[in-house]
Symmetry: C2
Subunit: 420 residues, 2 copies
């Protein structure tokens, strides 16, 4: 047996028909990658296979041969489609054996927690490959598994339910991987993101091009509903040096494109706007027509938002615009619900009816139906009232219903941020 090399690179295999068939979006893979990168371990490849033992063996076997370090997610649950453990046991030429202690623990848990006997279908969760190390699960009943060969190559098997996977990763697997990272440790893979909105990817690239390539750093352009994120990544440096390089590079970028950047790293624009309101000593309320509550949801998703975000009115129907926001009949009749006068009256109504200092309003045609020649799908009016001073802007947005609604909220927040 040779001592395993210090762990720097790992592969991830996510398992489940539901992932391959496209009925579940794989959020585990992204979470794993972020957590591992933070400790200097890079996910170098990812594969997804269905609930199919030969495919599981094949994908995990290739990853083991290539990288020697593999994390799997999925296929540890109680139901009949769960094949991960036996398939990987076969790859390591191990038998499956009953873990009596775990079986008793599960039986206890069902009695105390649900007040009934454990369903028979949970018994498979207590079967483990011989020689496996159990990774405790404090967030569910399926334990994770660590299986390792004589050469130090290993597979760590985690459950597929995101909450259980995340809990087990933090509680047990990350500490174990940190130890594997070995004494040659001390370097990290680290990223910084500059979040831009309101500018196209290629225009950003053109403004950045004259800077030349950034030293020992990768720069990725990530267009999304929020705008285009610019992600800088450095690898294999000690943390202080990594941070220094990222700091220099982002200062350089900000000198060129700072006007388009609303946040660093993962901060949502809603969070940025709430902070700006807090600094200005002003509380905000919303009036939402086509977005139906999405802007309120984003603002209230920020923990601790309640000192600045008061709430507001979902004015989907015109009667609600009239009665709860005081939008004048005449404005609705003469200009229609998607119009500047209505947006302005909604913003003012949100402010005055809730007692806030700021009101933000959105009214538009989100589609797919409801468009006209003058107001095609994607026509949106946003308005913002700060202490009685109301401004408004017409937007022409693109995309499907969800995209138009999301972009409308993002644009309203961007306008309010600029105003503050």
């Amino acid at each position: 047996m040779t001592a395993p090399a210090a762990l720097r690179r790992i592969e991830v295999v996510t398992i489940g028909d539901e992932l391959l068939l496209g009925f579940t979006i794989d959020t585990n893979a992204a979470h794993l990658a972020r957590e591992l990168a933070a400790m200097g371990i890079e996910v170098v490849r990812r594969a997804t296979v269905g609930d199919d033992a030969p495919a599981i063996r094949d994908a995990v076997g290739q990853a083991l041969a290539r990288t020697g370090a593999v994390i799997t997610t999925g296929g540890l649950g109680p139901t009949s489609d769960d094949l991960t453990k036996p398939a990987i046991a076969e790859l390591f030429a191990r038998e499956m054996v009953l873990d009596a202690a775990h079986l008793r623990w599960m039986q206890e848990r069902w009695r105390s927690r649900f007040g009934r006997e454990m369903p028979e279908s949970n018994r498979a969760q207590a079967m483990l490959p011989a020689g496996a190390i159990k990774l405790p699960n404090n967030h569910g009943s399926a334990p994770g598994i660590w299986l390792e060969d004589a050469d130090g190559r290993f597979v760590a098997m985690l459950p597929g339910v995101p909450r259980e996977m995340r809990g087990m990763l933090a509680d047990t697997l990350l500490p174990r991987l940190a130890a594997r990272r070995g004494s040659g440790a001390g370097t990290v893979v680290r990223s910084r993101t500059l979040r831009t909105t309101g500018i196209a990817e290629s225009l950003l690239a053109d403004r950045i091009a004259p800077l030349g390539p950034l030293e020992s750093m990768s720069l990725a352009y990530l267009p999304g509903l929020d705008g285009v994120d610019l992600r800088l990544t450095v690898r294999d440096l000690p943390a202080p040096e990594a941070d220094a390089r990222l700091g220099q590079a982002s200062t350089t970028l900000l000198s060129t494109i700072g006007d388009t950047v609303y946040a660093e790293d993962s901060a949502d624009l809603a969070e940025v706007v709430l902070s700006a309101c807090r600094r200005a000593g002003k509380r905000v309320a919303v009036a939402e027509s086509c977005t139906g509550g999405m802007l309120g949801m984003r603002l209230s998703a920020v923990p601790g938002s309640s000192d600045v975000f008061l709430g507001g009115v979902i004015a989907y129907h015109d009667d609600v615009k009239r009665h709860l926001l005081g939008v004048p009949d005449g404005a609705l009749r003469d200009h229609g619900a998607v119009s500047e006068p209505v947006a302005r009256a909604m913003a003012a109504g949100a402010r005055t009816r809730t007692g806030a200092e700021i009101g933000v309003a959105i009214t538009g045609v989100a589609g797919p139906g409801g468009g006209s020649e003058q107001k095609p799908v994607g026509t949106v009016w946003v308005a913002w009232d700060v202490d009685g001073d109301v401004e408004a802007e017409r937007l022409q947005l693109w995309g499907d219903r969800h995209e138009v609604r999301y972009r409308a909220g993002q644009a309203a927040l961007a306008r309010l941020r600029r105003r503050l």
Copy 2:
């Protein structure tokens, strides 16, 4: 050159550092899988690699050798991290050549659409592998690429931006793949989902187990925030027979667990509730505290919801509960905002203040802060008022802030559905 076999199986390779690093969640893969399954082509494996030419070549090369049919997403954009085309050209031993017509088209497009010259960084988008077929992009500027060898093995390269990928898939790639499916066509991979809520995965499994295995069909348990979805899948059958088998199997399942099923296939519970309201001739309004608009967002996400969903009040702050919903001071003072009297008053206020027949209210402790011994994080009161008849229920939910909020909305909808 041999005639390529009828296309039944395909692999997907998604490309991008942002996917491997975990900063972008891969929604393209799920979309591709669903669209392909609908025409009887099964995604049998998926791989994700970074913006790294050797890794792209390796993953695409393996998939080609294994399955002979590959779709890639990502790495066709204008910026410097885009390597897909040259890497795959090398795999096929092709040169990169300039497509002058596409260059002119892009230059025109920038002038007419943005009123300025095309940025230089877009020029790379007009470079194609020799012998490649261009797949037009009606939703962006990077064309897709179809590259095929003398034995009929192919790689179809699509952009990574979801909107462009989806448009190009529908407009150009699916028709091309349909032709490839060949004359032996006529069979499909088809699924049906029974959506359950309010019951644990293993309890469902126990109730289903006595039915025995379902004939020539796979059954997957998909736990998520909505509840547990049961997905039945049949493969390689003509469409009518596939539908008949799925119909029989779901009838059998419904006879056993029908009380837990709120919808078939992908319907959101919000959609189911709106239909129930429509049938009952009643309009609905919301009063949301901890969910901050999420329930309104879900209801208004359903196209055509405006005949039944009126809107409501985001009563995040207690003053908004008082002033816009008429929640009595005494109820707030004596019982706190998260209490049965407040939930009931909110539901009634939502109904009466908007003129709806139904009001639904949610008030709770979403966390991470704000919990107490009597009302720990996850304590939620939901209430529903139908024509003045108010009911309420206390829930103890689990998970992070987003999960508690989502589950609160789902539970409120489930209660209202049962009531209707």
